[in-house]
Amino acid sequence: MKYLANVTTLQYSLDKCTGCGRCVEVCPQRVFEMRDKRAAITDRDRCMECGACALNCEFGAITVNAGVGCAAAIINSMVTGGPPSCDCSNTSAGCCG
């Protein structure tokens, strides 16, 4: 299953990649694969902006505006002004179980 096309904020610069393979190891959507000892993007539209790759890329080759793809969290952040977060501990939203 894929979500909306052409919306992800994922950016990858090949020239900073050292080929360590962390991004391939952490991405749960197989956005990255190793090609010629460097990481390569397979399909950007599979990216769900979880941010695992950017956090674990030691060489700053990956950036993404990471956040939760959750309508309740985003509506909540629109109302309260904070960043969208999974902080549904005081509501009955369905994400954290």
């Binding site: 299953m1 894929k2 979500y3 909306l4 096309a5 919306v7 992800t8 904020t9 962390r22 391939v24 190891e25 952490v26 991405c27 749960p28 959507q29 197989r30 599979r46 990216c47 769900m48 902006e49 979880c50 941010g51 695992a52 956090l55 674990n56 030691e58 505006n65 990471a66 956040g67 939760v68 793809g69 959750c70 309508a71 309740a72 969290a73 985003i74 509506i75 629109m78 969208p84 977060s85 999974c86 902080d87 549904c88 501990s89 509501t91 009955s92 939203a93 369905g94 994400c95 954290c96 179980g97």
Partner: protein
């Protein structure tokens, strides 16, 4: 409150432990890999309601089997259900489990919040004196923990090299057997129909909590007559709308999530709207909700209920494994004005309907 404290004290030695083992860092509980009926009950309760908010394991180090200095260390969250899945999958193995304090939240959500995070992991490794318990310097994290844990920072601070293991605990035995190698399957998050199905109670419950208010509103609108609030029109005209409201909730919170890949379009709002329209169509045409024959009421039905289904379906983005923030923001930006439009048009039409009913226009 006092009762809860008492319960806690009584359960100080958790039922899922089988004694302790001695380590250089002190005694560590050995955990059972078997689930008792209490564990199954806990799983069901935590799938349905707020019970899961306090379904926790004390953070720290645990043992499975008879682990040695060479045994693997698996890191997990202190949400009891997560912990239960892990200990069950480690059956027959000798391993260590290091439980982080994630405030009884699962790995992925906790990683997103940062509680399953770099700092917490560094702190727990130090507190457990892990470097005295094992001779190697490897720890295995669930892959989805990578959202919150920076592996290189952990290594710099503790000396332990983080390996991100499989997404699912059930793949751990195969991962270990393969010499800590993941297949593509193991590192991809799946979202089967069953996965989606078990999440639907948490979609239906919050929506149904609001249902009595909506139902009351509908009955008042239809019952309101020049003579006062009458029961007969409230019931005869209101009932079809009550049924349509329930169907809209079902369409958005159950049918759309379960049939997700089979409903056209990638947008959740559109998916929910389509299922919503189909359910209004089916209900008004085939189930003979005969009172919805009035053109105005029929228009309101098609305006309001699919929009409700659409909105509820959009909430399911919070439970999926593939929706990103930018996409959901885009959907909301387009969707919210449309929802408000549908609601306000419905309101105007209902006023017109009432005025006509009272023969004012």
């Amino acid at each position: 409150m006092q009762m809860q404290t008492l319960k806690f004290v009584k359960k100080e030695v958790p039922a899922w432990t089988t004694g302790t083992i001695a380590t250089p860092a002190g005694a560590v509980y050995r955990v059972s890999s078997e689930w008792t009926s209490a564990d199954y009950r806990g799983m069901i309760k935590s799938r349905i309601g707020a019970f899961r908010m306090n379904y926790a394991v004390t953070p720290g180090l645990y043992a499975v089997g008879d682990p040695t200095k060479d045994s693997d260390v698996f890191v997990t969250a202190n949400y009891k259900l997560t912990f239960d899945f892990l200990r069950r999958e480690l059956k027959g193995m000798n391993a260590w489990i290091l439980v982080l304090d994630t405030k009884s939240i699962n790995v992925w959500c906790a990683a997103g919040k940062g509680t399953f995070g770099t700092d917490e992991l560094i702190k727990r490794i130090a507190e457990a004196k892990l470097e005295t318990v094992v001779g190697h310097r490897r720890i295995i994290l669930p892959q989805l923990g990578a959202v919150g844990v920076n592996a290189s920072t952990v290594q710099k601070n503790t000396g332990f090299r983080v390996s991100f293991g499989p997404v699912q605990a059930r793949d751990i035995p195969a991962y270990v057997q393969a010499g800590h190698k993941k297949t593509e399957e193991m590192s991809t998050i799946r979202f089967s129909m069953l996965d989606r199905m078990v999440l639907t109670p948490m979609e239906i419950n919050p929506a149904m909590k609001k249902f009595p208010w909506v139902a009351g509103g509908i009955l008042v609108v239809f019952g309101l007559q020049p003579q006062g609030l009458l029961f007969q029109p409230a019931w005869s005209q209101g009932l079809p709308f009550l049924v349509l409201t329930l169907l809209a909730v079902l369409a958005g919170a159950f049918v759309t999530p379960v049939l997700l890949p089979f409903v056209p379009f990638r947008s959740f709002a559109l998916k929910g709207w389509i299922v919503g329209v189909l359910s209004v169509f089916a209900a008004t045409r085939y189930v003979e909700l005969s009172t919805v024959r009035d053109t105005i009421l029929l228009t309101v039905s098609y305006l309001l209920f699919p929009a409700l289904s659409s909105y509820i379906a959009l909430q399911f983005t919070g439970s999926t494994t593939f929706t990103g923030m930018s996409g959901v923001k885009k959907e909301l930006k387009i969707g919210i004005p449309l929802y408000l439009g549908a609601a306000s048009k419905s309101l105007i039409l209902m006023i017109v309907f009432k005025l006509k009913e009272w023969r004012i226009v």
